[in-house]
């Protein structure tokens, strides 16, 4: 059983002198699903579980755990591995300070047993060096799109505007979407700046649209499609579709294959001296 193996590996890791803790998943108290957990003693590894409801992104916790001493063990499924690759590439996580345990995943399941929305079109990072694995870490053969997929691209501008207005009208601006995101690690955040206050905290339609547009743009090219933002949204706003629109746009404009699958710098974080864009040319 992969879960038993995961516990063995975690216990072995926590027995190391330099081990700080191990990040994985545990059952919810009422048994209705799982959540992220941090285990620091080998005796506690029996809390760890691995199954098809382990939605939480384990890696998002790493930059927040703080501290510099010791090594943190972390269980990663495919999407977590993409996030980890991005965090390492962008200098947020020191590769030497994490012990990465790869967990092969053939797709998470929604409560009704269907393949999770986020898992469609999943790609594992290529050439990622796991320290240990529970099995071969290969991209599972999964359908590219959910059967009931909404195609925003085929809508007219007016239809799209109506769609997003309805989505954002439900938003309660708790901003859990940005705080759950693995890529939201900036020590100074545009949404939190009070002087100047760039983004109004009012909750009218323009303010909500602005918040979501800025959030999506800040993640353009860095979103690894784990859909954690959509999962935690209490209002069910389809942030997954917004992020995907940005991912598709970046792919079409720059030929970028997506964050986390390679070590190529995301286009919006990069520049080149012979940039054909007139914006770059016009500068002296």
């Amino acid at each position: 059983m992969q879960q038993d193996r995961l516990r063995e590996i975690a216990a072995g890791f926590l027995g190391r002198q330099d081990a700080r803790c191990f990040v994985g998943w545990e059952d919810l108290p009422d048994g209705s699903g799982t959540r992220v957990t941090v285990v620091s003693r080998p005796a506690r590894v029996s809390r760890l579980v691995w199954n098809r409801s382990c939605f939480a992104n384990t890696v998002a916790l790493l930059p927040r755990l703080g501290g510099t001493k010791g090594v943190i063990g972390v269980a990663v499924k495919g999407c977590d591995a993409r996030a980890l690759r991005e965090l390492i590439r962008s200098g947020q996580v020191d590769r030497a300070a994490v012990h990465v345990v790869g967990v092969p995943c053939d797709g998470l399941r929604e409560r009704d047993g269907s393949l999770a929305r986020r898992c469609h079109g999943c790609r594992y990072p290529a050439d990622f060096e796991y320290d240990e694995v529970l099995g071969p870490m290969v991209t599972p053969d999964l359908p590219a799109h959910p059967p009931d997929d909404l195609d925003l691209g085929s809508m007219s501008r007016e239809e799209r505007r109506a769609f997003w207005n309805a989505e954002f009208d439900r938003c309660i601006r708790c901003e859990a979407c940005r705080r759950i995101c693995y890529a939201c690690f900036c020590p100074r955040c545009i949404f939190e700046s009070t002087d100047p206050r760039w983004v109004s905290r009012r909750d009218g339609r323009p303010e909500k649209l602005f918040f979501h547009a800025v959030r999506a743009y800040h993640l353009a090219g860095r979103c690894i499609a784990c859909d954690e933002c959509a999962r935690v949204c209490p209002a069910g706003v389809r942030l997954d579709l917004l992020n995907r629109a940005l991912r598709d746009g970046i792919a079409a404009l720059f030929g970028y294959e997506g964050a986390g699958v390679s070590d190529i710098e995301p286009p919006l974080r990069d520049f080149c001296v012979d940039d054909p864009d007139p914006f770059a040319k016009g500068r002296t």
Binding site: L28, C174, R179
Partner: protein
């Protein structure tokens, strides 16, 4: 007074009738949401009167997320300040549940203490609360552990008890009696069977949860090493504070354009670092775990010391919506266990 009955099919009509003289609010089903939200009946969304918790608690109708306080403008004669009015119209809330109603009683202790929050006070006075006897939202809620009777909420002006093909209606206060007088054309006397059925109404059995201090009190809870461990799972998203019926902290902000603008207040969250960020740069709660500790000790200890009750109504919204499913019940149990273990060590 004869017990009266409202047929299920007349509910929408009752809302319309009340709307002639008052602003009516009720849980409605909004597409895309997996819980009802408070809305205005008759604006196209179906009423959701039932034992289902609205996503945002009742506090939104009394302490709105964003509320303008006044507008200001520069003028030749000097600055002009115009206070924002609280609409004077009477309001009726249909179908509020006991947990949410109890939260208003807790908020009253803060916001109606002198000097009272004038805007909150006016809204409270002008609102009639027509409660729904709650037969159970989910096994995860635990209002009964906090001495709340979901079937007969205290603090409500009137009560709708579901039975048969409608609701037995009862006035609990003078405000409630006024309301039912206005509804009279739609009500009929209840039958003996309906009265009996409403009397026999039972709520689902809920988990017994204790938020009370351990035998030795909460004294040593501040120092527990386990806060840091408890806090690791928390991503500081703040959903728990937004959705908590008893959280009431707000920030006051000015927005200026040209020589004019507005001052408004907006819900704040103690889970954010900015919450205690001082202008001179110091932050008394610089660490994440110290903010998590503050949130839970505020509910369990400080509010109880200052206002005589635990600031929780057992609705379970925190556990249900937390990205890592950690609710106040679990935290309290953990703290108690740790204190006992600590004491025995």
């Amino acid at each position: 007074m004869t017990s009266m009955f409202l047929e299920r099919g007349l509910l929408e009509e009752a809302a319309v009738l009340l709307a002639r003289t008052a602003e009516v609010w009720a849980p409605v089903d909004e597409p895309g949401l997996d819980a009802p939200s408070f809305g205005r009946p008759g604006e196209g969304l179906p009423l959701a009167i039932g034992p289902r918790l609205p996503l945002l608690p009742l506090k939104t109708l009394f302490l709105p997320r964003v509320e303008e306080l006044f507008r200001f403008a520069g003028g030749a004669e000097g600055p002009v300040v115009v206070a924002a009015d609280v609409p004077e119209r009477e309001r009726v809330v249909l179908g509020a549940l006991a947990c949410d109603i109890r939260s208003l009683e807790l908020l009253d202790r803060v916001l109606l203490a002198e000097p009272a929050d004038e805007r909150y006070r006016q809204r409270r006075e002008r609102t009639t609360l027509l409660a729904l006897a709650c037969t159970g939202e989910s096994p995860a809620c635990f209002c009964t552990s906090l001495n709340i009777d979901p079937l007969r909420p205290s603090g409500a002006d009137g009560l709708l008890s579901p039975t048969g093909e409608g609701w037995l209606v009862e006035a609990l206060t003078g405000k409630g009696r006024d309301l039912f007088e206005r509804l009279e054309p739609l009500l009929r006397p209840a039958t003996a069977a309906e009265i009996e059925a409403a009397g026999a109404l039972a709520s689902i059995s809920r988990a017994a949860v204790s938020l009370d201090p351990p035998p030795g009190g909460w004294d040593r809870v501040w120092e527990l090493a386990t806060w840091e461990e408890t806090a690791t799972r928390c991503i500081a998203c703040g959903i728990c504070t937004v959705l908590c019926p008893t959280c009431h902290c707000f920030d006051v902000q000015d927005e200026k354009r040209g020589s004019g603008g507005a001052r408004f207040r907006v819900w704040d969250t103690c889970m954010s670092q900015q919450f205690t960020q001082m202008a001179h740069g110091m932050n008394p709660r610089p660490l994440h775990f110290s903010r998590v500790r503050q949130r839970f000790l505020h509910k369990l200890v400080y509010f109880a010391e200052r206002y005589g009750a635990i600031a929780c109504v057992g609705c379970g919204r925190c556990a249900r919506r937390c990205p890592n499913a950690t609710g106040i019940d679990e935290i309290a149990a953990r703290l108690r266990a740790d204190l006992e273990e600590d004491g025995n060590a």
